[in-house]
């Protein structure tokens, strides 16, 4: 039951910062066709700093909870900082063990956010 710890389920059921920002600096959606997960991210920047993130997500508990937690973690961080994150940061953030097959669910949010910041 490790994967479905209370804080993961809490983020899944009550995703933080869910929604869509207007007048954004970047906006993108990315999907994982193998499992149908889809995340659309909008970001507002202030200089090189992330001011606000909102997203719309369809998917499994792991991908939604990871995106929700990421939206809190990335706020007020620099673009360069977020671009440097990888699997290690996401797994630390989730605080659970994720099997190889579920790693792509956990990583979808970060991949989407990074692609968004690239634009």
């Amino acid at each position: 039951m490790n994967l479905y710890r209370q804080n993961i389920l809490d983020h899944y059921h009550h995703p933080r910062n869910a929604g869509e920002l207007k007048d954004v600096d970047c906006k993108i959606s990315l999907d994982n066709p193998l499992c149908g997960d889809l995340i659309a991210v909008t970001v507002k920047l202030s200089g090189d700093q992330i001011k606000a993130i909102k997203y719309q997500a369809i998917g499994c508990a792991v991908s939604i909870a990871a995106m929700s937690m990421l939206s809190e973690k990335a706020k007020d961080q620099s673009v360069a900082e977020v671009q440097s994150w990888g699997e290690k940061e996401i797994l630390e953030m989730l605080g659970i063990e994720v099997s190889a097959t579920r790693l792509k669910c956990a990583m979808l949010g970060l991949r989407t956010l990074q692609k968004c910041l690239n634009k």
Binding site: Y4, D10, Y12, P33, G36, A61, C105
Partner: protein, 436 residues
């Protein structure tokens, strides 16, 4: 009464013959459509071969190699008898269903299917019986699947033309469990266009019910050893001898030639022509042991037991709140004093409740919960099911969902396994439903 005896007496002893259940006593294995477990008989046969009999086949002029060749070729005969082939020359060993179908696409298709020609497949095909044809020819036509998970065969006459060179279809859907009326479909195809060849993907059928290529009237049949108690890395392509003779080899090297000169090579005869390189000798011998095991229990017995278990599972799942089940939902009494006679041909003398046109496989979703989460929570509870698109993305597009949960059964599964699955789904709903 053979079937009844089998169900009463053999179910428990059958399970004890699979070592995995000794090592994983709590395992509820319901992912048989992906791969089956292996009985000790198969594992030991492979181990014995490597320990006592190992040598290359078709080469050595010494007893060890001659014996290995004899054992290897005996499996070819066994496979031929198992599927009713006229001669064992028609049996080609491959690495699995995927390679078998690719062999037809490359060896026969490239030569015989032109850019103007057409191929007909069904909407319920596994990617292995879809992508090779897509790669070969862009004029793909689809036999549609209706809301009940059945092929819309009234479309067949419209889809088939003089340009149709091949119909490729599955015997049993790996997602819906639908048993397609393959013999009737092939009859209809050959009436409309006698020159059109038919390839049957038997990966989900050959392990579960008696299949006879002569009765089906197909031209190719592909299946895998590892879904029928055998090892991974071995499969079979059966093709009509005259078609195989005219087909081009696709793997060039040792074993598939009769003569090589500096400027040219002459191919060996069928089936060696298609088996370039040292084959998976131990794997093929393991397949032989798997067929012995299946024959000992009897395919008709396996089919009937599984048909009843499928009906039990369907009823059990239908009773779950918030479940969406794909494919045929209908239960019927076999009605004719013999269970599902047209499939397992077994006279049991009882009225059995069976799923109409469905065998061994049920795919579903739980409303509001992603298939991956369902499978993960079930997995943590020791219940192995599959979540995803099951290599059938076009079918899932048709179903309107990106993924589903699939439970698939085999001869060692029991009602208890189904009960544990139903309980497990209750747990999934408890863990993942939003009660806050």
């Amino acid at each position: 009464m053979v079937a009844f005896k089998y169900q009463q007496m053999q179910l428990k002893t059958i399970k004890t013959q699979f070592p995995i259940f000794k090592h994983q006593p709590r395992l509820v294995y319901l992912d048989n459509a992906a791969t089956s477990q292996k009985p000790a008989m198969v594992i030991n046969r492979i181990k014995d071969f490597y320990e006592k009999e190992n040598a290359a086949v078709h080469r050595g002029i010494y007893p060890l190699s001659e014996n290995a060749t004899a054992e290897f070729e005996a499996v070819r005969d066994k496979v031929a008898r198992f599927i009713g082939a006229e001669t064992s020359k028609e049996i080609i060993f491959t690495s699995g269903t995927t390679e078998s179908i690719n062999l037809v696409a490359s060896g026969w298709g490239r030569k015989n299917i032109g850019p103007e020609d057409e191929i007909v497949v069904t909407e319920m095909e596994h990617h292995a019986n879809f992508v090779p044809w897509q790669e070969l020819n862009s004029n793909l036509k689809f036999i549609p699947v209706d809301d009940n998970g059945q092929l819309q065969l009234d479309q067949l006459a419209k889809l088939l033309t003089k340009k149709t060179k091949l119909v490729a279809l599955t015997y049993i859907s790996n997602v819906l469990g639908t048993i397609n009326p393959v013999r009737e479909i092939i009859n209809q195809i050959k009436r409309i266009n006698p020159k059109c060849l038919v390839l049957v993907d038997g990966a989900q059928a050959v392990p579960h019910l008696p299949v006879n290529v002569q009765e089906l009237g197909c031209d190719f049949l592909a299946f895998s050893a590892h879904k029928m108690l055998g090892p991974t890395g071995v499969g079979v392509l059966w093709g009509r001898a005259e078609i195989l003779e005219a087909m081009e080899p696709v793997k060039f090297g040792g074993g598939m030639i009769s003569r090589v000169e500096r400027g040219r090579a002459i191919w060996a005869s069928v089936p060696a022509k298609f088996e370039g390189g040292t084959p998976n000798i131990a794997g093929v011998i393991g397949l032989g042991a798997a067929i012995d095991f299946l024959n000992n229990v009897g395919l008709a017995n396996i089919c009937q037991q599984e048909a009843q278990l499928t009906a039990y599972a369907l009823e059990k799942l239908q009773a779950i709140d918030g479940i969406v089940i794909y494919g045929s939902q209908e239960l019927e009494s076999c009605g004719c004093k013999c269970g599902r006679c047209q499939i397992c041909k077994l006279e049991c003398g009882r009225e059995l409740k069976l799923c109409k046109n469905r065998l061994g496989i049920i795919s579903f979703n739980i409303k509001g919960i992603h298939a991956h989460d369902v499978a993960q929570v079930l997995g943590d509870a020791g219940i192995a099911v599959r979540a995803g698109h099951h290599c059938a993305m076009p079918l899932h597009q048709q179903l309107g969902v990106p993924a589903s949960v699939r439970m698939s059964m085999y001869l060692y599964n029991s009602r208890e396994d189904v009960d544990l699955l139903a309980e497990g789904i209750g747990k999934v709903q408890k863990v993942l439903k939003n009660n806050q």
